[in-house]
Amino acid sequence: SESGQPSLLLTCLHICPLPGVGCSSVQQKIYVQLNKTFPCVRLLNATHQIGCQSSVSGDTGVLHVLETETDLDWVLSSGPNPPYVVLMVAEHFNRSTMMKLKGSARVAGVAVVISKAGPAQGFSPHHSCPNQNSGVYSDSYGPELAGCNVTVWNPLGNSLSYEDFRFPIFSLHEGEEADVIRKCFLDHNRGVNGSDPAYPLCAMQLASHMYAVKDTATCMRRNDIQSRFSISPEFVCDALADYNVWSSLKPLNNSGKGHLDGESVVIAATRLDSRSFFWNEAPGGESAVGGFVTLLAAAQALRAVVEDHPPSQNILFTFFQGETFDYIGSSRMVYDMENGKFVIDLDNIHSLVEIGQVALHRNGQLWLHSDPVSRRNSSVRSESTALNLSLSVAEPDVSQPLPPSSFQRFLRARPIPGVVLTDHMSAFSNRYYESLYDDAEYLNVSYPSGLSPEEQLEYVTDTAKTLAEVATLVARSLYKQAGGLDDHLSSINADPKIVTQMLYGFLVQSNNSWFRSLVSPDIVKNLGDPVKMPTWLVQYVLANFTGTLRNLTQTQCKNPEDLEGESKDLYSYFWVQGPVPPNSTQGEGYCVRAPVRLVKAHSPAFELHQYSSRDYSTWTESRWKQIQARIFLVASRDLEMLTLGVGVAVLLVSLVVTYFINSKADLLFSSSRETTSTAY
């Protein structure tokens, strides 16, 4: 209509091509949406809620950029326009600042700008004693070792991830959006010559309303009520669950559960998962990727001898998910083994070797940790000395407990001999444990400039070379541990080439030609910059390393039941894309048969409905509807009240004037009255 603003329509033309599809051109003038943000969400366990919460439509506050101490005072006490949303760079994202902001009623939210490299002194929002209450050390088992009395594993840990904030906290990376926010602040929120800033002020609204409250038992009860009494149930939380990946050197019959007579297994374990303060952002370079890449490379290295000179015992490769949250995956596997729901049980386990954090070893020195309480005079120790490699392995001097590891859950059930291989003697060498900075750069996975993505995929970094040596060590130790002969050890070698390809895929870019050739054609589209949930990807990589190619068509690959020589009990069958020929976009497709399986990594507490369990992990994640962040200007309260006042005045004046004119209408409009038309 003609009283609108013409530039509105122009903006509408450019930004809203489809009129009527939820696009208001006035909204385009008011709000700047921030799209590349990561929120912090709420997690609950048996006793606490952690994370962040916002009000239903979001929390709005005047923007303030935190650079110095005076800025903090401004936010907490002296600023004239509370509440504030604080924008800080990662250096200020530490415990002292966040605790001060947490305790203040003048803070409506926090936005953290994450830079590429972490603070030089290290940063870990995790506990200083990870998984303290869910490991093996307790009052009844090695009480002097419990609670990190002997060694504080993560001394840089400030437990920030485990605090409960009542305002939203978002993170964004350095870039366009952070610059827009800073510009808005500089243009509007700084007073001239030391005076208070004048309205309109730049403000930010952060919305991340979480539905679950209090603890897991409460939210599970509410889920229950919803599912029973509601036509369309709306759950408030979900248990943290995923899958563990396992594979065996010699195939095991999956249809037989429980104790397997005559089978003796060496378990090679590692973990797949990591976390950070923010949701769905967990690069986990040193804490997870280094470990499982090493084990994958070891599995591939053992392939050289598995056909001709198999060891006398079997080797079971297990990749546990959910270990960060009180050992979800390993506790579930131990529970399944205890209750006869897994292919083997605890009596079949000969020993266990776990790969912990191994990617940051200094001077080629690795450490073997074992449990001082259950230490046996086993052959495990002696086998692990270096075998013509440039690595040297030693045990820590003091009688030190095991570091946080999945092995502890096995020890809770049975005193199994086992070791944990790490690159740290006592405290972690990882200075960014379970944080956003534990990424490719921290592991020194860097490439010379000017390489294309494909060239980067093939380039062998130094990190890859050292990890390959660790993988060779692991593979050879496993072979020996499983009863293999020394003569064949020299043929077991991990390939640095595949190690560097795996590091590139899991840390830098998962949408590369090698990964694309490993997965099935319909999953290819899920690949994309470091993949968030690597379980299925690890499954395909492991299948590639331990499996064999079968000459089957796609339909046969899906149902190989009736075919000769194929057995779904012993193997899984995967249809993978294969390498893409140079002149086409899709690979031909091949059938791969591998003894790789997925098992549920869902805490037994939920199976047993013991939501306040102390024995098992009870972690759940809240559900939410909308997560968004946007910036805009806010008007002063005075202007708003003035508008209302003027409106009421206009209404009253027009009512009075109209009444008056109407009552005198016949007198006012009487001079040209015609007789043919009446009016009254």
């Binding site: 329509l9 122009l10 006035v26 708003e640 206009v650 209404l651 009444y659």
Partner: protein
């Protein structure tokens, strides 16, 4: 408190229209019908003109900014012309209806005069025009933010409300003047109304320099108010009559004992009665 902005702007934009509706239209069912039908006619004109503009935009290159601006100006001009055409069409319809109403009434006199129909039709146009201008903006004024982050004026909501109020009243006055011109076959009146409508619409292209669009629009509104007043049977005499004699002003004078004015008023009153 964004709710304050919402109500403030709503009252500014629709206050006069609401007052006019409550006191002059709401009690008479016939006037209500004419009001709503008038609103509908305006809506039809908007629909047709926006269809033309939409097709023109889709058929053109969206990247060419000056072309888009030109198309917008063309769209606005076409819309104004179409609105006046529909106003004329509504006038013809109402004339026909008036004859019908006169035929079925007992005294062969229509219950409503052409001036009253003109006023109601104009108000109908004005209310619908105001609604389309303002409702979208009102709904966005409820959010926490105000206009300005891209450099626009922070007074956007208020100035939109004032412009809407002006347009609503202008449509009312144009209705009165237009119908009067049609009755008396003075075609220059119709041309003048169309030209003024085009002028006010063109003034809105001067936004966001609101001093260029709002004061002239209000000046034109005052002028149109005077024109409508005179063409619907008002005169300076009746104005002074009401102002001096029938107002609370008079009671103050009476109590202060200035009788000559009272005699004059009484004389005039005797003349009229």
């Amino acid at each position: 408190m964004p709710v304050a902005v919402f109500f403030g702007c709503a009252f500014i934009a629709f206050g006069p229209a609401l007052a006019l509706f409550v006191f002059t239209i709401a009690r008479e069912p016939l006037r209500v019908i004419i009001l709503i039908a008038g609103a509908f006619f305006w809506l039809l004109s908007l629909l047709l003109s926006s269809l033309v503009w939409f097709i023109a935009v889709k058929a053109s290159n969206p990247e060419n900014v000056s072309l888009q601006k030109g198309l917008l100006i063309f769209g606005a001009v076409f819309s104004v012309v179409l609105q006046e055409v529909f106003r004329f069409a509504y006038y013809r319809l109402l004339r026909k209806a008036n004859e019908g109403l006169a035929a079925i009434s007992e005294e062969n006199l229509s219950p409503i005069s052409v001036q009253q129909m003109a006023y109601v039709a104009g108000l109908g146009f004005g209310i619908m025009s105001g609604a389309f201008s303002m409702i979208n903006i009102l709904s966005d004024s409820l959010g926490p933010g105000t206009v300005g982050i891209y450099g626009d004026s922070q007074y956007y909501f208020i100035t939109s409300a004032f412009m809407t109020m002006a347009m609503t009243l202008l449509h009312t006055f144009w209705g009165v003047v237009f119908f009067d011109g049609c009755e008396k076959r003075r075609w220059w009146v119709i041309a003048a109304v169309a030209a003024l409508h085009l002028l006010v619409s063109g003034l809105s292209f001067l936004n966001p320099s609101y001093e260029g669009s709002l004061p002239p629009a209000y000046v034109i509104m005052v002028l149109m108010a005077a024109w409508a007043f005179f063409s619907s049977g008002g005169s300076l005499q009746t104005l002074t009559q009401v102002w001096m004699c029938e107002s609370p002003f008079l009671s103050i004078l009476l109590y202060s004992g200035t009788t000559p004015i009272l005699h004059k008023c009484q004389g005039v009153a005797i003349l009229w009665n």
